[in-house]
Amino acid sequence: METSRKEKKTNGWIHLDPRTKLLILVLFSVVVMIDVVDGPALIIRIIMTFIPVFLVCLEGKIHIGARFTVLYILGMWLQSYTQKHIDGVVGMFLLFLCYMIMQFAPTIIMVWYCISTTRISEFMAAMNRLHTPQGLAISIAVMMRFFPTLGEEYRYVRDAMRMRGIQFGGGKVSRMITYRMIPLLFSTISIGDELSAAAVTRGLGAPTRRTNVCEIGFHKKDFVIAIVMFVLTIFYVYFSLQKGNVIL
């Protein structure tokens, strides 16, 4: 079957070490968990939000960065507008929507950046350097490997449903889910089986220490980004604690 020919480039202009990405992901999570409304903390938060956007743009995905920026600005504007002018259920709903955009969209774009630019062998090498137990590293690697396959399978199922005009399952949510899940489950189970058979015939699971030929290492750009993120996070936490914000 010919799969869609979308290019997935793993080497952008700035190629960060997987460990740097992991660090900024963790720092970013801290920031997202603390909610602020105004003051210097908000500015820091916005700066930090746009660092991954900037990185995504450097990967050549300017359209994604642009779409995100517009969405984010729209979200911010809608939030402040709603707070001032709209009350009741509609206002609650809109606020909830904005909150989702402001909280989750930056995280999603951050995670997307980390996953889409990291090769599995790089990730394994990084885990190796961090002395993570091999069982954990392999499990995460398998998950990373499986997501694209799952996506591919899901697209086939969605196409099949579209061809029969049953995307909406006659309006019943339960059916909508069943129709998607049944073929997906069957095909992923068989793929998983074949995949593990292929992996064990290639020696996966040998008790010797697994080698990794992938070269990873910290460079200047890693330090720069890590330090910038680190300093920003410290300021962010400091400012928000000063204002008496609670860590969720």
């Binding site: 079957m1 010919e2 799969t3 869609s4 020919r5 979308k6 290019e7 997935k8 793993t10 300017i62 359209h63 642009a66 779409r67 517009v70 090769r119 599995i120 062998s121 990373m144 490997r145 694209p148 396959t149 591919e152 399978e153 086939y156 196409d159 099949a160 449903m161 579209r162 061809m163 029969r164 005009g165 049953i166 069943t178 129709y179 049944i182 073929p183 069957f186 095909s187 068989s190 793929i191 074949e194 995949l195 593990s196 058979a197 292929a198 992996a199 064990v200 015939t201 290639r202 020696g203 996966l204 699971g205 040998a206 008790p207 010797t208 220490r209 697994r210 080698t211 990794n212 030929v213």
Partner: protein
């Protein structure tokens, strides 16, 4: 040397695919072909040698399987990995990495070789198997043939003495099969033992030393290479094997020089002839990589021809015909079918038939594709409800009629996933008929099928066409083309051209 003595095997919980009384000795450096119908036990036999039986697939095993006088059952799979390498049928599900480099070094990394040794092996495998063009690529962007080459490279990097290939050509086009053939030849010249289980026989005749024919889990017949090469048509038909020698004109049509000069020839130029018995396809232009504006994608027009994956300005086909679509892996066959049944929203093509015109989403109303992996399109818990699901108004009587016409009535209460591959395919066809689709599309319906099932599909397609439907079928199978297609269209670089 591989010695299999008095082996009987049954999969746990399965009645089929067992082995009975297998005795086989394979000396070092021999290339051996296992042939026979689906379910005859070919794959099971290969699993005995690569150790997946008894280590991975459980069951009742008696007798002995020895490689170099050591029993397979007593060695661990990771030790066997350096002795026996396996290439599997499905290129999609035998990769652990997402990039080609990672895949080639995957095996050596697992067994803990030093970095220098691994890189050295990678280097030599890449030159020997001519993989350099495929390096540094994402595996998801490769065609089936390219994936299979990488699978060969990944196996070879472990330097096994024995290489097992289980129906490796099922999803491959002719050029890729030729590459596979060359790789096997190379391995043979290195003195490796090769065991290949396969339905397509023609590309193997000059590599193998011996062919073993299996039936219902038993070894029934053996041929030497010289005998095998000259098997008569009657004998092949008797054993239900696919042809060993192909007719010249197929080799020419599928082979390397196909479609080089006349690329731009338009099909059936008599476009004015808007007679009733034709289906007109117009303006089929499509690309996976349209120009990305910041906020939306550029709509394509016929003027964008140069960037398009599919560029078919006009194509007329007769109703009630079976149209074979051929072309290399990645030439756009599947994409064309996807456009035709309305799955690619940005495709601007439209279909005119019976005086009405269908475009975009509406195409799903008259076209229906039976996918290559039919598991993706079976949703419900019984065959009957699968058919009812496709109807605007559930009509059990009509559904049963449709099932009857496809010999499926007795299975109407069974779960579709419990059926055999061929039956599943027919269930998918039944739901297409229930949706009153007039144009049926088949994406490689016979890949990996044995002779008898291939013949069945061929009969079925013919029958569907006689009942008034227009059939498009994409395939790499010359036998299927010969069996049922009324006309053949070749797609090269997204352009269509009629041959023969």
């Amino acid at each position: 040397m591989i010695e299999i003595r008095d082996v009987n095997f049954h999969y746990a919980g399965l009645k089929q695919n067992g082995l009975y009384n297998i005795n086989l000795t394979i000396p070092d450096g021999e290339c051996i072909l296992l042939c026979g119908a689906s379910g005859c036990g070919k794959t099971t036999l290969t699993r005995l040698i690569n150790g997946l039986i008894p280590h991975f697939f459980k069951g009742k095993l008696s007798g002995s399987v020895m490689v170099n006088s050591r029993a397979i059952g007593e060695q661990e799979l990771y030790d066997l990995a350096q002795l026996v390498g396996s290439v599997f049928q499905n290129p999609r599900s035998q990769f652990f990495s997402v990039d080609t480099d990672g895949e080639v070094v995957f095996g050596p990394e697992n067994i803990g070789l030093s970095t220098q040794e691994i890189l050295k092996r990678k280097e030599s495998v890449v030159t020997e198997l001519k993989l350099s063009e495929l390096m540094k690529r994402s595996l998801f962007d490769l065609s089936g043939g390219e994936k299979q080459k990488i699978a060969c490279g990944s196996v070879a990097a472990l330097l096994p003495e024995i290489i097992i290939l289980d129906e490796p050509s099922s999803n491959l086009d002719w050029d890729s099969i030729k590459d596979l053939h060359d790789i096997m030849k190379h391995w043979k010249s290195q003195g490796k033992t090769i065991i290949i289980s396969e339905h397509r026989l023609w590309y193997l005749k000059d590599i193998i030393d011996r062919a073993v024919y299996m039936e219902n889990g038993r070894i029934v017949k053996e041929w030497k290479q010289s005998e095998f090469e000259h098997l008569s048509e009657e004998e092949l038909a008797f054993y239900e094997l696919r042809p060993v020698n192909l007719e010249e004109h197929y080799i020419r049509e599928f082979g390397e020089n196909a479609g080089s000069e006349k690329e731009r020839t338009r099909l059936s130029p008599s476009t004015d002839n808007l007679s009733e018995e034709y289906v007109h396809l117009k303006d089929f232009f499509f690309t996976y990589t349209p120009k990305n504006y910041l906020f939306f994608k550029k709509k394509i027009t016929p003027a964008d021809e140069n960037i398009c994956t599919i560029r078919i300005p006009s194509l007329n086909v007769k109703k009630e015909e079976v149209i074979g679509i051929i072309g290399k892996n990645g030439s756009g066959k599947s994409t064309f079918l996807r456009c035709l049944c309305g799955l690619e929203k940005t495709c601007i093509g439209y279909v005119e038939t019976d005086g009405s015109s269908y475009k975009g989403k509406k195409l799903t109303k008259i076209c229906y594709m039976v996918m290559q992996d039919v598991n993706h399109q079976l949703f419900t818990d019984s065959v009957l409800s699968e058919v009812l699901l496709s109807m605007d108004k559930p009509d059990e009587k009509r559904a049963e009629e449709i099932l009857k016409s496809l010999d499926l009535l007795e299975y109407k209460d069974k779960h579709p996933m419990a059926l055999s591959g061929g039956q599943k395919q027919r269930v998918a066809i039944a739901s297409a008929l229930a949706a009153k689709a007039e144009i049926l599309l088949f994406d490689e319906p016979t890949s990996g099928l044995d002779y008898r099932h291939m013949k069945e599909v061929s009969q079925l397609l013919k029958g569907l066409a006689t009942d008034g439907r227009t059939i498009f079928v994409s395939t790499h199978d010359p036998e299927l083309l010969a069996g049922c297609c009324d006309r053949i269209i070749q797609i090269t670089n997204g352009r269509a051209r009629e041959i023969s």
